[in-house]
């Protein structure tokens, strides 16, 4: 049963545009994450938030900015997208920062033309 919801499922845009992706979890978790899965299917952590506070930023370009209004929401904004930003962006949550199990959303596939 889906409990981490991401929108949109797909987004196609031009180089230089701004995009925003939304993520909401209904599990009551404290910690949320953004991961990027590239064309070779390799998943890499981008950000981690615990209770609305940024706790991990894995050397992500400054055009990426996460936004958290409350602990159930973690959005991702990309200013001025570039071709290498084409990927699947996966949102996840866990009960806490050391909780064992991550729950992933179904992902947002971004294509930059």
């Amino acid at each position: 049963e889906t409990a981490v919801f991401q929108t949109p499922n797909y987004h196609v845009t031009q180089v230089g545009n701004e995009v925003s992706f939304n993520c909401k979890q209904t599990l009551g978790h404290d910690t949320m994450y953004w991961y990027k899965q590239d064309s070779k299917k390799l998943l890499k952590i981008m950000f981690s938030y615990n209770n609305k506070q940024l706790i991990v930023n894995e050397t992500v370009p400054r055009r990426f900015s996460p936004q958290s209004s409350d602990k159930a929401h973690l959005n991702l904004r990309i200013k001025s997208v570039e071709p290498e930003d084409s990927a699947v962006y996966l949102c996840a949550s866990s009960a806490g920062p050391s909780a064992e199990t991550l729950y992933f959303g179904s992902g947002t596939r971004l294509t930059v033309l």
């Binding site: 299917k41 390799l42 998943l43 952590i45 981690s48 706790i55 991990v56 920062p97 729950y103 992902g107």
Partner: protein, 110 residues
């Protein structure tokens, strides 16, 4: 360099055969998880096993922490097991930041 390496990269089995997937990692892992990614892309946590042996259903994971390796055994494979199996570690003991391997793509033929 890549912290997590998985082998084989791909595996084709006949239904009913067993699968053995390997994960080797280059740093101490305070957490180790196995995930399943369906052909459609959804990602599900299968097992958390930082050390020892764990079973769930037809899955058995054995992690030897000192040797920095883990395996996932799938018994009596089914066509619905087809997909990509990902191993991930958290080397830092906090913040649940997982580093993923590139996965083993399993295809189970009827």
């Amino acid at each position: 360099g890549q912290q997590v390496q998985q082998s084989p990269a791909s595996l084709v089995l006949q239904e009913g055969e067993n699968a053995e997937l390997q994960c080797n990692f280059s740093s101490t892992a305070t957490q180790l998880q196995w995930f399943y990614q369906s052909p459609g892309g959804s990602l599900v946590s299968l097992l958390s096993n930082p050390s020892g042996t764990k079973h769930t259903g037809r899955l058995t994971s054995t992690t030897v922490t000192k040797e920095r390796r883990s395996s996932l055994h799938i018994s009596s494979s089914q066509t619905t097991d087809s997909g990509t199996y990902l191993c991930a570690i958290d080397p830092m003991s906090n913040y649940n930041v997982l580093y993923f391997g590139s996965g083993t793509k399993l295809t189970v033929e009827p």
